[in-house]
Structures are given as structure tokens and as C-alpha cells.
């Protein structure tokens, strides 16, 4: 029964935290650009306004996929707070990403198709890194369970898995849709590819995507926080510091091409992960 309450509280609280993080994102970005910026609660105004807009449909299937995206993402957050299997969480996250891509492909707009193609390339870039992160956790702890990472007395992962941590920061940039990886769609710079994969989603369905993104922010920052889960507040501070770092990178970096993103994340991220896991198994003898 206790598990149910934790799950319900997480489902309610996660989007609120995510919305405030999005508001802080817009405020800090505005200050870095020399502007005053909108109020912190602005994402909530945007969300409720979008809920009240009329529904314009270009394809019936895209709504099914959007609900799939939302439900899979909520399931991922529930997996994280109930301390279940990390590997399964990463597979579910992959399902969520694919649902979003299929939503983009289900309308006939060329902009939407371009955005969906780029989203696929983004998934191609970050999925292997996340998968190897789970393997690294297994090499360190001998278990994929998140409960093994956060159990009292367990050693923090960061000292032995710091190369994987750097790779996960790359994933964070891609998942938060920040420059230089804001390829499939972007929170600003609205003129390129109209709005990418989001082009055909309007009104309440765009609001649902916004809601899913809030869950996503919390989920990905939660994965970052797992690297220092004992005590958890250190992990949360690390996650928030990583979030601010992403904002600064977003404002100082230009958007790169899709090919560069795949090459960069594979050449840097995958190599760091593989070296880290090889070190754990070959030098330290593994789990």
C-alpha cells in the first residue's frame, strides 16, 4: 500500500517540479541574454492556456502516440521512485521516445517528418549511452536494481563511474533539447524547420507534450542524482548543478548538425562508457 502512495505522490509532484524547473530555465536563459524574463510560473500559464485551445486534428493516430509517450514517461518516473529495475526503466524510456517519433511521422507535414527523423537520430545517440550506464551500474553493484544503489550504506557511484557520468551529461543535453543538440525541436529559435516534430501538435495535445517534458526533466535529473544516492541530497545538488550547466551550455553553444551529434556522442560518450566498464571488469575484477 505504501508503494502505491509513493507512486501517486510522484505522479502529482513530478510535473510541478518539472514545470518550475522549466520556468527557472526560461528566467536564467533570459538573464544570460540580458533580458528580464518571464515569471517562474510562466510554463504553467502556457500549459493551461494550451489546454483551453480548440482541438485541430491532422491525423487521428498522432493522439494515440502522444498518450503513449505520456504514459510510458510516467511509468519511467514511477520505476525511478519505486526503486525498480534500471535496465527496464531505460527500455521504457526508449518506448516513450519511439512513441513520440511515431506521433511525428503520423501526419503528412514534411516539417514534422524532418523533426521525427532527427528525433530518431537523437534516440540513436543517447540510447546506447544509457544502456551502458546500466551496465556500468551492474559492474559496480552486481545488480540492475535502483534499490541497490540507494540502499543505506551503499558506496556512491560517482568516484568509480565518473566517465559514465560525463557521458550521461551529454544525454542530459539531448533529452532537455538544449543547444548544441536541439535538433528535432527547440524551445527557442522558432524559425528553423517551423517547430520540427512539434509542428503538427496543437492545443491540448501540445500541452500533453509539455507535461511529458516536465516528467522527462525530473526523470533525467533523477538518473543524474543516482550517481550520488547516499546521502541523496548530494545527488540532488549534483543534478541541479548539472541542470544549470546545461543552461549555460545552451546559451553559449550554436546548434550543430545531426551527423555531428551522432559522431560526437558515440566517439566521446560511448568510448568513455566502454573504457569505464572495461576498467571495472579487467582491472578491478568486476562484480
Amino acid at each position: 500500500m505504501n508503494q502505491w502512495w509513493i507512486a501517486i505522490i510522484a505522479i502529482i509532484v513530478a510535473p510541478i517540479i518539472g514545470g518550475f524547473l522549466a520556468g527557472i530555465d526560461r528566467k536564467i536563459t533570459a538573464r544570460l541574454q540580458g533580458r528580464y524574463g518571464p515569471p517562474i510560473v510562466q510554463p504553467f500559464y502556457d500549459f493551461f492556456k494550451l489546454l483551453g485551445k480548440s482541438r485541430i486534428a491532422t491525423s487521428r493516430m498522432q493522439f494515440v502516440w502522444i498518450y503513449g509517450y505520456l504514459v510510458f514517461m510516467i511509468t519511467c518516473v514511477v520505476f525511478l521512485v519505486l526503486k525498480l529495475d534500471l535496465l527496464l526503466l531505460i527500455f521504457l524510456l526508449g518506448f516513450a521516445g519511439i512513441s513520440f517519433v511515431l506521433g511525428g511521422f503520423s501526419s503528412k507535414s514534411p516539417y514534422s517528418h524532418f523533426g521525427a527523423n532527427r528525433e530518431l537520430m537523437q534516440i540513436l545517440s543517447y540510447e546506447p549511452v544509457l544502456l551502458l550506464m546500466a551496465l556500468g551500474v551492474y559492474a559496480q553493484n552486481g545488480s540492475f536494481m535502483i534499490s541497490e544503489i540507494v540502499k543505506p550504506g551503499a558506496a556512491p557511484l560517482l568516484p568509480s563511474l565518473w566517465p559514465i557520468f560525463i557521458a550521461v551529461l551529454l544525454v542530459l543535453t539531448i533529452k532537455l533539447r538544449k543547444s548544441p543538440f536541439d535538433l528535432s525541436t527547440s524551445h527557442h529559435g522558432h524559425q528553423e524547420l517551423v517547430k520540427g516534430i512539434m509542428t503538427e501538435f496543437s492545443g491540448p495535445y501540445y500541452a500533453l507534450i509539455t507535461l511529458t517534458e516536465w516528467y522527462e526533466i525530473v526523470l533525467v535529473l533523477g538518473l543524474v542524482a543516482l550517481f550520488w544516492a547516499n546521502p541523496l541530497w548530494v545527488g540532488i545538488i549534483i543534478a541541479l548543478a548539472a541542470f544549470v550547466l546545461e543552461l549555460i551550455i545552451d546559451n553559449i553553444a550554436a546548434r550543430m548538425t545531426v551527423g555531428w551529434m551522432v559522431k560526437f556522442t558515440w566517439a566521446v560518450g560511448l568510448v568513455l562508457c566502454v573504457l569505464n566498464i572495461a576498467y571495472l571488469y579487467l582491472i578491478k575484477g568486476g562484480a
Binding site: A30, G34, G37, Y45, F48, K49, L51, H190, Q191, T199
Partner: protein, 145 residues
């Protein structure tokens, strides 16, 4: 429904469309987004996509080719929506009113909520126009302002 109506006032996303303007007004519209005026303070964001927009900001007189595009864009914006005609040309056709290819102001093609005159319009006047449009919307929705 109260929170949705309040949010509608607090978060107008604009889409800017250039009919056959001389670009004077367009530059002033974009000037509103710069650090000096920073309309994002009021939640105003410039969208490139009519499906995400709430307010259509139109500059320049309507000619026979852009009339079709303007109607199409207006139809693609989900309700509730508003139209602001920015600049003398968009209000009435301006100096181009009797050209052979010009239909006249924006209101010849789509319903206009707010007219912002000026050649070229000052950014302050455009912000005033958006505020006026929001007051009109809040009156229509019955939200105290």
C-alpha cells in the same frame, strides 16, 4: 475554467506575418523581442507556427497573392485567436491603398481585433496594441482586469 481564462491573458503567443510590407514594421515587431523591450516578460513568445499561436500580428497591405496565404494562416490558428493589424498599411492599405494589386487593409480578408497605426509603428505602440487585444479578450471571457 477560471485558471484557463487567466492563463489565456498571461500567455499570448504571437505569430508574425508579413503581407507586402516594406519591412519597416517587421523590424519594429522584431525589436519588441530584443533585450530593450523584452516582451517575454509578459509571456509573449514569437512562434513560427500558426498551430501554436494565439495572436496573429499582420504587417503590410494585403495584395492578391497574400490574401490566400493570410486566410490559410488564420484558419490554422486554433480558437480563441486574435488579429492585430500593425502599421498604417495593414490598417487601411496606407500609401499603397489605390495600387492595382492591393486589396486594402487586413480587415478586407480576415476580422481584425486591434489596429495599431504608425509608419513605421513604434515598438511601444505594438506592445500597447497587444495589451489592448488582451483587455478585449479578458472582457469577452469575463475575467476581471
Amino acid at each position: 475554467m477560471g485558471i484557463i481564462n487567466t492563463s489565456r491573458i498571461k500567455s499570448p503567443w504571437i505569430m508574425h506575418f508579413d503581407n507586402s510590407s516594406c519591412n519597416g514594421c517587421d523590424i519594429e515587431v522584431l525589436a519588441c523581442l530584443t533585450p530593450l523591450y523584452d516582451v517575454e516578460r509578459f509571456g509573449i513568445v514569437n512562434m513560427g507556427n500558426p498551430k501554436h499561436a494565439d495572436v496573429l500580428v499582420v504587417t503590410g497591405p494585403v495584395n492578391r497573392r497574400t490574401a490566400r496565404v493570410l486566410k490559410n494562416l488564420y484558419a490554422q490558428i486554433p480558437d480563441p485567436k486574435m488579429v492585430i493589424a500593425v502599421g498604417t498599411c495593414a490598417c487601411s492599405g496606407g500609401v499603397f491603398h489605390n495600387c492595382y494589386n492591393i486589396l486594402g487593409g487586413v480587415d478586407k480578408v480576415i476580422p481584425v481585433d486591434v489596429y495599431v497605426p504608425g509608419c513605421a509603428v513604434k515598438p511601444e505602440a505594438i506592445i500597447d496594441g497587444v495589451v489592448l487585444a488582451l483587455q478585449k479578450l479578458s472582457k469577452a471571457l469575463g475575467v476581471a482586469k
